[in-house]
Symmetry: C2
Subunit: 201 residues, 2 copies
């Protein structure tokens, strides 16, 4: 029986909304947490058991046809634990951006390498932005699967939309800048993007 982690509470949060099978939870984690709390599928199967061991959820084995599925349901203690955790100070955004290390030391490589890095970041970010926009349109038009939770979902959505847009826009801007450079080892002060060091209005 492990101690409860933020990941435990994240799953407990989903269970507070409704009961889910382990498989459904795994899919839902991919739909939602992937954006701001990405974890491998396998943690789900460990954590659900952990929640049961702590008495925060119950597991019910169903056998639809001959195929088994375990449905998890939150307990009253689980709701209390979740409410308590919501009062703890949670960590702000922690970013891991490998490609940005490569950008920071790009003068040790070639211009082509830097452009390839930026293009790959831009493509990935654009795909995420498209996905975020499509989901947002769905929520806006249909109310989504939990219309009674739309007000909190909107807060999260606003962040993710802005965040994916920022990444895509930045990568596009950086590509434009680098395109204008003769060389990645350039020392020319004029090659430094103007206003890069100032907050946009």
């Amino acid at each position: 029986m492990r101690a409860l982690s933020s990941t435990s509470y994240a799953i407990l949060g989903l269970l507070a909304v409704r009961s889910w099978s382990a498989y459904e939870l795994a899919k839902q984690m991919d739909r939602t947490f992937r954006w701001y709390w990405p974890r491998a599928e396998s943690v789900l199967y460990e954590e659900t058991k952990n929640l049961v061991a702590h008495g925060l959820a119950t597991a019910a084995k169903h056998t639809a046809g001959r195929r088994s599925r375990t449905v998890y349901t939150i307990t009253e203690r689980g709701r209390q634990a979740l409410a308590g955790w919501l009062g703890q100070p949670g960590a702000g955004p922690v970013l891991n951006f490998e490609a940005l290390i490569q950008v920071a030391f790009a003068d040790q490589g070639t211009k082509e390498q830097l452009l390839a890095t930026l293009r790959s970041v831009r493509r990935g970010a654009e795909a995420l932005r498209r996905e975020a926009l499509a989901r947002c349109r769905e929520y806006d038009e249909t109310g989504g699967p939990s219309p009674e939770r739309l007000h909190v979902i909107a807060l999260v959505a606003r962040f993710l939309l802005d965040y994916t847009d920022l990444t895509a826009s930045w990568a596009a801007w950086a590509e434009e800048q680098v395109d204008q450079w003769d060389d990645v080892t350039s020392v020319d002060r004029a090659a430094v993007p103007p206003d890069a060091f100032r907050l946009r209005p």
Copy 2:
């Protein structure tokens, strides 16, 4: 002798700029990587040894006074390894935002809890934005410690400035929205922030 990780290459990147003592590297990691590749100080002392074991750096024990310090220098093989890594596709931004889980399930707690979470995020983000702005002003005015690297630093700075600004602005906006709510369990469709689901112009 461990396999090389992205963290290994990050440190190797610093060594490509100049030689550093282990302690200086630890400080520099805090100054730079903390923003987009945060790692504990202790990894530095493991990784430097690992770089030496791989032949990518050399260690020189100096004794200034009676205090010992180990100065690390990149080797030719180290420069080649770094240049090779710069050509590999690096991962895009991966976000871990614990407080956003709490926002997503805020309807299971109280309005006060949600406001406290948002305020704490905003305070932290504002502090980071101030720090980023101060560093940017320094780079803009003095050229910073490596003026010949200013063009790549500017690319990184632009991202970090926008990113810290986004987080701070979002938290402030979210606080304003929630302030107007009667209750966090509100179902009123009018309480949903207008245009939250649309990309800003």
